[in-house]
């Protein structure tokens, strides 16, 4: 057992913390609202290889593990970064795993930084991918339509951007024809693998969201005085925050364990990824609520940063589903599908 990050992983964390600190400050996050996309930040992320780092080296990426990607995703969540890092990483890994000229061609454009390809986390219904992540800003979208995995070109002609709670660049996207990437059970399997990856990385962003919210809440509880003492000295304030700190540590460990399990293609990968999503998203919801509530009336003001995180704690994970949906997925993996 070794729960320490390697030297390389620590360097990865330090460099991304630095990058996001400079390019995704709360002011920059606010400036990118309501669309939730900052082109300058995105260009920086693309140029530093963020999108393709999870692609294998033989396909032109860095060969970063899912565990490495969770470290980056947590920082993305912390910064509330207006950039669809998770969806783009998952889409790139999917394209790299499909052995077809269409997929390799698309991957080539992603690697060259020419196109933003995203991933629709829910299958299309009636020819529409609803609330597609990064649908409002992407050039193409990977969508499961029945048992066909399609690569759909996206432009203003076939998308309707949707203003939303989490200030994410979501859109309803009409599929049209698109290109076929894969068909049949193998296509559905590949989609499910991509969902595992999206769930685990989104869980990591939720850990980041919760962590920054806890820090903001604790700082306020130390500084703010009421009834003659800092409010953090009152157990009614302190105890929920102590629970949140505990849950966040647990969520981070579970996310990392799930990623480690998926990386080595072990039996419990899918189950643990779904559990990590359920636990981390619930934890982020509760922590952002507790932190906002700790601020009293100030927490309800747009001027205070805590609302940025409260909205994303709900908005980012739920484009796929809630904790109960993830527990159903975990149960299917643990007990076999219900008859």
């Amino acid at each position: 057992m070794d729960l320490a990050l390697s030297d390389e992983q620590q360097e990865l964390v330090a460099s991304f913390a630095n990058l996001l600190g400079k390019s995704s400050s709360p002011e920059q996050v606010r400036a990118a609202e309501p669309r939730g996309f900052d082109p300058a930040l995105w260009r920086t992320l693309v140029d530093t290889g963020t999108v393709t780092m999870g692609v294998s080296e033989e396909r032109g990426g860095w060969g970063a593990s899912l565990l490495d990607l969770t470290l980056v995703a947590e920082l993305v969540g912390r910064a509330a970064a207006p950039a669809p890092v998770v969806e783009a990483q998952v889409a790139a890994r999917l394209l790299a795993a499909v052995d077809s000229p269409i997929a390799l061609d698309a991957l080539g454009r992603v690697l060259a930084g020419e196109q933003l390809v995203s991933f629709a986390v829910r299958p299309a219904t009636d020819g529409v991918a609803e609330l597609a992540p990064a649908g409002a800003v992407c050039d193409a979208l990977v969508v499961l339509d029945g048992d066909t995995l399609r690569l759909v070109p996206v432009s203003d002609a076939n998308r309707t951007a949707v203003a939303n709670l989490g200030s994410a660049p979501l859109a309803d996207v009409r599929l049209g024809e698109g290109s076929i990437l894969m068909q049949g059970p193998a296509a559905v399997d590949r989609f499910e693998t991509a969902i595992d990856e999206w769930l685990i990385l989104t869980a990591a962003t939720a850990v980041g969201t919760g962590s920054i919210a806890l820090e903001i809440g604790c700082a306020y509880a130390i500084e703010r005085k009421a009834f003659g003492s800092p409010i953090g000295a009152f157990q009614a304030i302190a105890h929920p925050l102590a629970d949140d700190a505990t849950n966040l540590d647990g969520a981070r460990l579970l996310v990392q364990e799930a990623a480690w399990e998926l990386d080595r293609a072990a039996d419990r990968g899918r189950e643990l990824a779904a559990m990590a999503f359920a636990f981390a998203s619930t934890t982020a919801e509760k922590t952002t609520y507790d932190s906002l509530h700790t601020h009293g009336g100030y927490g309800f003001m747009l001027e205070y940063d805590i609302q940025l995180h409260w909205r994303r704690a709900r908005g980012w994970p739920r484009v796929w589903g809630d904790a109960d949906a993830a527990l159903g997925r975990a149960a299917d993996a643990r007990y076999g599908r219900a008859r």
């Binding site: 105890h239 647990g250 460990l253």
Partner: protein, 384 residues
């Protein structure tokens, strides 16, 4: 990162399981439950023979057990409700004696604790001093050749069957709070000692112990006079890294077995989406609890002190036991009411028993509220 135990530790777990299959017989389990006991002399002796009581202490003829192996040992004991509580409290005290006890105490006590021949109960809580243990009022007054002890202790579990009670007493009557305290070993054969049974919701028997004009020779003192608080902290150091969640693991196993068996209608409960999801939720809590416990163990293995992480693991695991026990009994339904001792009980009443057992876990070894205070201060940096 690596979330698995190494091969050696995995093999050791198998060895522990074989030991338990041999020594923890269904008859012994039943007898312990009926009597509310958490100790058995033969079982303790068998542990001692393998050097599994103080496995991480050097002893001639035995290999040292590492922290991971000790953790796995405790996980398996907790999972099977093996009778090792008196052995573990004895070791908490033995660590204090080993660190600060007199040479005479070391030679008198330690070799016999290691073999399971001598057991020691903890005498800290009092009627008016629980989580706030510095409020103790039991007195030890200096007299010629030793001390005269008067007072009473609550929840002195196993003091009816152990050889000694590790007693925290106030030796300076003028002192307050953490100062002026001293610790002793009280032989339970002493005149003036009495243990009165206290029966608990879990079925476990504990005691109130009384100390009336009890004369204690000075050689039974386990700390410097007035340094009892420090020796107490030493004893409690490892308490919150105990593998509590193994209890929940066993009940979840039982509930999953129940769910897989077809009911009267020919359908197994596990076929229902609602049941599956609720079981998965308990399994998720268990996974998190296990990770937090193992992190504490891992930190100790690299000589980091888990000042907030230990309390986190104790808090989360025990709260998960309470939540999980309620959830599992609720999802099994009316049949979960059948008692552990009843022949019709579901899964031998393990789930019903966990529900009652769970109540104690968030109280002893520092209540959840005490753990939250520690976490708030040490991790969140909040003021007292």
């Amino acid at each position: 990162m690596d979330f698995d135990w190494d091969d050696e530790t995995q093999r050791f777990r198998e060895e522990v399981r074989q030991f338990l299959a041999q020594h923890l017989t269904p008859e012994l389990e039943d007898r312990l439950y009926q009597q509310g006991q958490t100790h058995d002399d033969d079982f303790a002796a068998a542990l001692g023979e393998r050097n599994w009581i103080a496995g991480d202490w050097p002893r001639e003829g035995f290999d040292l057990l590492g922290g991971a192996q000790m953790h796995v040992l405790e996980e398996e004991f907790a999972r099977t409700e093996a009778p090792y509580y008196a052995v573990s409290t004895s070791m908490m005290v033995a660590k204090v004696i080993r660190a600060v006890g007199s040479d005479w105490l070391k030679s008198e006590i330690l070799p016999r604790v290691v073999t399971g021949d001598v057991t020691i109960a903890l005498g800290m809580s009092e009627p008016e001093a629980g989580s706030d243990v510095a409020a103790v009022q039991t007195r030890a007054r200096a007299v010629e050749g030793g001390w005269m002890v008067d007072g009473q202790k609550m929840f002195t579990t196993n003091a009816n069957i152990t050889d000694f009670v590790f007693l925290l007493a106030r030796t300076d009557p003028e002192s307050e709070r953490h100062r002026g305290l001293t610790t002793f070993l009280v032989p339970i054969a002493s005149d003036g000692f009495e243990a009165q049974a206290v029966h608990t919701v879990s079925g476990e028997r504990t005691n109130i112990t009384y100390y009336s004009d009890l004369f204690l020779e000075d050689r039974w003192r386990t700390s410097e006079v007035g340094a009892g608080w420090q020796s107490l902290m030493m004893a409690l150091q490892d308490e919150h890294s105990a593998p509590f969640c193994a209890h929940l693991g066993r009940a979840l196993d039982a509930a999953e077995q129940w769910a897989a068996e077809p009911g009267a209608d020919g359908h197994a409960p596990i076929e229902q989406a609602e049941i599956r999801r609720r079981l998965a939720k308990v399994a998720m809590d268990l996974e998190v609890a296990r990770l937090l416990e193992r992190r504490t163990c891992w930190m100790e293995s690299i000589d980091e002190v888990p000042i907030a992480e230990g309390p986190m693991s104790k808090l989360f695991s025990t709260e998960a036991i309470v939540r999980g026990a309620e959830e599992l009994t609720a999802l099994v339904g009316p049949d979960a009411l059948r008692s552990r001792t009843d022949p019709t009980a579901v899964q031998a009443g393990r789930i019903e028993h966990l529900l009652r057992f769970s109540l104690g876990t968030t109280i002893y070894a520092g209540t959840s509220e005490v753990q939250r205070n520690i976490i708030a201060q040490r991790r969140c940096g909040l003021p007292r």
